[in-house]
């Protein structure tokens, strides 16, 4: 990757244009009243079409995507994004549909929603889905709203708490807070699973429900899930399944069968739609049959959710079919366990045993610290990986370990790619033992070196005009 230092504003030349619009053939309407007209200048760039294409092509070359290389980002399921998905989502018959067109004009689009509802229900064991949420966190919020609505409909207004494991994604407590719920954390055991004994005393008539990922954020299956769902249900609460970690369950286990009442899926993780540098995603929420009545009362986005993303996921499921679904789950788990076994001689594995689609190391076994030389941290390992053409794993999450390094390979990576990653991780560990400063100065070959994030936060420069 090469460094390119322009902003589009810096290419601007007065009088240059990059648009092509039709000649105005309408009679000229009277001007707007002056008190409604914009007075301020409008300093948008004035650039040619060629300038725009070159500029953004240059910017793209400072970026790393799944199509560039291996992206073992834990909890993010960065699998390959099939190209047929892009092709069908761009069809004018879908792209040109106004969202307020009635059912008679949108039969093809509605068929996509109907099929997706059936497919996702079959895959998850839930009864039906709403497709309005635009991302995973948005799905969580919607699911929690449904949870509260369910209790409200029963006249049970005392249930204002939600239980969240201490290993949960940060979005879980944040979504609960936006939904007006109070968070109660339940501790994890040494083996990384929810402490059922610690859960019991928390369950009373004030608990609306419990949010869980299974497998959890350590990539471990919650083996006592049956006891947990029974306890929560017995106390009158509902079980929420955070679908961020659904990939290893594909074709093998269904959240509905485990006793979950509400769940969301991240179509941009499990169902192969591209992440787009941070969205658009789609976070459909599924509910068990006894909660279907609550769905129509919740309106969380402008129209019908991110239809373009739903279309891509639909194409993916059609390609998978019932024959290939299980391969997704199984091979994501196979690849994760293989990496874990190959690297645990160089990186601390805090919890032994079989993992699911991802696992967490707690930093290097030998970080190279000696005398007055600091050891290499997880951040240093991550930055050094960039030099070898790999994206870094998720770092410093979950919060249970100080040097967390969370690796998720997904099912779409070949053994050769995975072996190359393992070799590089070993090489980095050897470098750390030898001289940790090689890692601490990394990346060496990226478009930029490590930036000064403290200065960025102390003196925020958040737009072009601030910088001048």
């Amino acid at each position: 990757m090469k460094y390119y230092d322009k902003l589009v504003f810096e290419l601007s030349q007065k009088g240059r244009i990059g648009y092509s619009l039709p000649v105005n053939r309408f009679p000229s309407a009277p001007e707007l009243p002056v008190e409604l007209k914009r007075e301020a200048a409008l300093d948008l760039p004035e650039v040619s079409e060629v300038d725009v294409v070159r500029h953004y092509t240059n910017l793209s070359q400072m970026n790393f995507g799944v199509d560039t290389g291996f992206y073992p980002l834990g909890s993010c399921t960065m699998k390959y994004n099939p190209k047929i998905n892009e092709e069908v989502a761009a069809l004018p018959g879908f792209n040109g549909l106004h969202p307020l067109m009635h059912a008679g004009l949108t039969k093809g689009a509605l068929k996509v929603y109907q099929d997706m509802n059936k497919f996702l229900a079959a895959i998850t064991g839930m009864d039906s889905f709403t497709f309005d949420p635009c991302a995973g966190a948005h799905g969580e919020l919607t699911g929690l709203m449904i949870m509260r609505q369910y209790h409200m409909n029963r006249g049970d207004l005392a249930r204002t708490k939600v239980i969240v494991p201490d290993s949960a994604h940060g979005t879980n407590p944040a979504s609960a807070a936006v939904c007006g719920l109070e968070i109660v954390e339940v501790k994890s055991l040494e083996n990384g699973r929810v402490d059922v004994e610690a859960l019991k005393p928390l369950l009373d008539g004030t608990v609306a429900g419990m949010m869980m990922t299974n497998p959890n954020t350590l990539g471990l299956f919650e083996t006592q899930i049956k006891e947990i769902t029974e306890l929560v249900h017995a106390s009158g609460g509902l079980m929420y399944y955070d679908g961020a970690n659904m990939n290893p369950m594909m074709g093998v286990v269904r959240p509905g069968d485990m006793g979950f009442d509400i769940m969301h899926l991240n179509l941009h993780k499990t169902f192969s739609t591209p992440h787009g540098g941070g969205g658009p995603g789609s976070g459909p929420v599924g509910v068990a049959a006894h909660l279907v009545d609550c769905l129509p009362e919740i309106r969380v986005s402008g129209f019908h959710g991110n239809f373009g993303v739903i279309l891509r996921a639909y194409a993916y499921i059609l390609m998978l079919g019932k024959q290939n679904l299980k391969k997704v789950g199984q091979y994501s788990v196979l690849s994760a366990n293989y990496i874990k076994e190959c690297l645990k001689d160089a990186y601390k594995l805090p919890i032994e045993g079989v993992c699911k689609h991802e696992f967490v190391f707690d930093g290097l076994i030998n970080d190279g610290a000696h005398d007055d030389v600091h050891g290499a941290t997880t951040l240093d390992v991550a930055k050094r990986l960039l030099d070898f053409g790999f994206h870094a794993p998720t770092i410093y999450f979950p919060l249970l370990f100080h040097q967390a390094l969370m690796i998720e390979p997904t099912e779409t990576e070949s053994k050769e790619t995975i072996d190359a990653f393992i070799d590089v991780m070993h090489k980095i560990a050897a470098e750390a033992a030898e001289d940790p400063r090689i890692l601490q100065d990394a990346p060496h070959g990226a478009p930029i070196k490590r930036p000064d994030e403290t200065a960025a936060a102390r003196n925020p420069i958040l737009k072009f005009k601030d910088a001048r």
Binding site: L32, G93, V178, F303, L325
Partner: protein, 442 residues
Amino acid sequence: MAGFSYIPHTDADIRAMLDRIGVGKVEDLYADVPKEFLKKGPYALPDAMSEGEVREWLGSLADMNPRMKVFVGAGAYDHYTPSVIPYITSRSEFLTAYTPYQCEISQGTLRYIFEYQSMVCELTGMDISNASLYDGPTAAAEAMKMTVACTKKKTRVLLSKGLLPNVIAVVETYAKFHGVEIGHVPVKDGQTCLDCLKAELAKGDVAGVIVPEINRFGIIEDHAGFADAIHEAKALLVEYCDPSTLAVIKSPAEWGADIAVGDGQSLGIPLCFGGPYVGFMGVKKDYMRKMPGRIVGQTTDKDGKRAFVLTLQAREQHIKREKATSNICSNESLMALWVTVYLSLMGPEGLREVNRLSYDGAHYLKAELLKTGKFEDPFPGKPFLKEFVLKPAKHPGLVQNDLEKAGFFAALETEEGYVSFCVTEKRTKEEIDALVKIVKEG
């Protein structure tokens, strides 16, 4: 076992990996799952299709949706999309990247977000923009929560009845669960009623007020006096706006807004049955740390080179958890790129020309429709840009039906029994004349 193109594992790979792990078969990796939860029997899914079959099938579904000339807005606008945009946004370095957490190899994403933030600030006149939100209505909901967080001990937010119905519905949903009371300000004479607003503000419990720059009747509202009244009551003014129109009408900052929100769809994003679109938010500097969502900032790297990073992250869910300003995580980054490329191509002149064409076209259509004698103007003399409503002599549904049969999606019925029309720069004089002809004959 037949192979599958997205999964590269050969039988030999699988055997070698299992041996290294030390288990006999793939199923053993699920030995910790209680047997009763392992799915028995096949999934109720169709048989796998080939890529060609998927292409055929989705093509046939797309063909089931008739291609219409769109004369409706109401929050989703059929503006022109320059061909450069999909070309750039489909570059896989942008398309297949994750959120730019590893900034050293994400400078492309971080730079365009910085440009996007700069452009949102330029259009709205606000000091600070975030990296995007889901859509316009959720951006309004985030603004609703923000006004409560920024004004201590106040729990009520007022919504103008001139806002689009879907904006009101989403804000009300968020408010209900977040514990915020919602009040409404009526529309009188085609405009959010300032006297009614003042009466509500006098109650002293109002944290914020959300009003539309252009209301659901298409009327450009005059918000003179709004900011003063609202600030005097120690509340915040939120302007909901269509960013495309801000090239020509007063910006939220010019009305004295504290927060500007809306949907970026009108900046060249295809209709696509309602999404993906992109919510935007601009705020005054005082409220920077209460703003939801990701923000990109400029700094330097170790060698002194200009560099861009995600900043002010201590507001966000992965650090503050339940105390975060919002739960938002993934936003609409690629759609922010879409908007950024659009605004780069259009520039100030292009955006003004888009508005000029829409304005002249809409005024032409309205005049021609009134000439047919089949409509009354419920808001005579009120200023509008590209959208307007008329009161039809016959049943609104019938007007829409006649036009639909001729290939026009137009004359959308409102709750008052008006029909609404929208004209963008994509609508030609020939199309408008043809539409008017149908109305005359109908």
